[in-house]
Symmetry: C2
Subunit: 350 residues, 2 copies
């Protein structure tokens, strides 16, 4: 194996010079640089990461913690991961996908093991022990979603409160006076799962503002559960408008709705919160509040990396607002034009 010592010898310089040529951390004469680079070419040298990591105490690896048992958003997650991985690669960082360590011991092992420089946390709870632990140990991290106390920590989140309001407004404008909200399991409210808690808050606020009637329904993230919900909703005659927040129930819910003989949008207006790419799979295309998963992945990774590179004196708080894209699942034949547009509001502050 070729090492910098070989390069040094070949180029007639010292090892540190080679190291500095590579890192650029101190000025090296043009001529020396060229000799070193020539040697690197000739000997086909590739820096050896573990050596580097041991000496510098940095691995240029980041990881995303994604608990598998979570209510998989499928399309969303994939876009998120690939965008994050690309952003990482663009900054010459490796991107690691970790599904395992939900235990304190596991997480400790991860951050003390020295294999990664920073972490991206998903599925964050309002009060999340992982956040507390990372903070306590001073380990760099970024949240996808956010906890209650965001003092000094980076996050990028979706504005589910605004999204729920937007959804209700949309349905109200279609003439509905009674709207149902379908969330994930009730334990999500209890455990303070952001999307569940905040969309509920936005929902209630919008109802009040508009003077509408509302019903909140919980369902598990499975096809069967969604299917059952459709049946249940069919029994509630007065409700012909529904907002589905939990993506997991969606396939079953839509299928179930047709199974009970209700058509979308003729008999039931539906607004969802999934990527447009996903919403468009359904027939007819669902109306959705489209959140830019790829932007989140990119931002999440970049925020973390910036912090790792020392640029993160000020915490970055990014709250993305989703845009409502009408499918054919709500109103009389709305626009079906493909549009990839999306908007986001970005705010920085402590």
């Amino acid at each position: 194996m070729t090492t910098i010592a070989d390069i040094a010898k070949r180029a007639g310089v010292s090892v540190s010079t080679v190291s500095y040529v590579l890192s650029g951390k101190r000025p090296i004469s043009q001529e020396t640089q060229e000799r070193v680079h020539a040697a690197i070419e000739e000997l086909d040298y590739h820096p050896y990461a573990p050596g580097r990591a041991l000496a510098s105490r940095r691995t240029r690896q980041i990881a995303v913690l994604y608990p598998t048992e979570s209510n998989g958003l499928t399309e969303f997650q994939l876009e998120f991961f690939t965008a994050a991985a690309e952003a990482a690669a663009g900054n010459r960082y490796a991107f690691q996908l970790s599904t395992a360590p939900v235990t304190e011991r596991g997480l400790l092992n991860l951050i003390r093991g020295g294999a990664i420089d920073g972490l991206i946390l998903m599925e964050v709870r309002l009060h999340d022990w992982r956040v507390d632990l990372l903070r306590k140990h001073g380990f760099p991290f970024t949240l996808i979603g956010r906890c209650a106390d965001t003092e000094g920590i980076d996050f990028v989140d979706l504005d589910f409160e605004a999204a729920a309001e937007l959804a209700v407004d949309h349905l109200a404008e279609l003439g509905h006076r009674s709207v149902a909200l379908i969330l994930g399991g009730e334990e999500q409210q209890v455990s303070g799962y952001g999307p569940a808690v905040r969309s509920l808050a936005g929902f209630e606020r919008a109802l009040k503002n508009r003077g509408l009637n509302g019903t909140v329904i919980h369902g598990e993230a499975s096809f069967e559960s969604g299917h059952a919900l459709a049946h249940r909703l069919a029994g509630m005659q007065e409700v012909a408008a529904v907002v589905v927040v939990s993506p997991g129930v969606l396939p079953g819910f839509v299928a179930g709705t047709y199974d009970v003989g209700r058509r979308i949008p003729e008999d039931l207006s539906l607004v969802t919160m999934v990527p447009q790419k996903y919403a468009r799979i359904f027939t007819p295309a669902l109306t959705t509040i489209d959140f830019p998963a790829d932007q989140m992945g990119k931002l999440g990774a970049e925020m973390l990396i910036r912090r790792l590179e020392g640029g993160g004196d000020q915490a970055a708080h990014v709250l993305l607002r989703g845009e409502l894209i009408a499918g054919r699942s709500t109103a009389p034949p709305a626009t079906t034009q493909a549009q990839d547009a999306q908007t986001g509001t970005v705010a920085a502050g402590a």
Copy 2:
């Protein structure tokens, strides 16, 4: 930071003893082991990966190479990744997702950089330079898909040839005499993309066996392209049965089919090759040949790890066969029973 030296001192033993207690690579007396473990507890020691990696020349990291520009199967990829990540974690390996290095230089950097022990390759071509390069350098890897010469290399692949036959048989039994096959872009045939090449072969064989007429159509992996294909197919009156191999065209194709006033399955029988979970999203649920993405991810990771651990003297060749799951997209109201079953044939040999 706590190191094994600290542990050694605390336990009153030498550093090598601590190391051996941790690795179990040589017999240590019960008593000594206990003292060491006690010290580890008290000092809250966590082994430091880079040190370990530098000394042992192994990182316990594997990576999957996933070219982003590929025709993303979304659902499939996500299931695959998470299953692979879990399998890796189960064997105490970290799982890395790499989207970047399509260049020879990038790949060389990756395998010479020492950051990973082995690679999983996706989107393999019949003649794939990456395979040649890895083979030449003796770097451990596993294929998802397979190349022409699989001598001595591990792979897990889907049997697209059998799948295409199965699809045609199914359609023939429904009474169709003329069947269309929708593939991805034509360049996939040229570049020898396995799924495209092999499903075409199976398609043609099945046509011949059954004495049917066939049409082959290529489309890009985009909504718009799929939409256009539906229009095009509508112009071919005699064809009321179609097999869609490329998942990318599916959403657009289905939407387009409805847009031209054709119903599925009443006016058009459709068989696809996507995960059932995905097929079920469509309304009505699509008939699909369901490949177990999670099994592939698990197997791919495990095969690689087994090889890394020295168990891989014999190359493992795994060819998974998909099961046809009838949705409501083909025949007169077929079974809609949810069934998660799947079968696979496993063959070992050089």
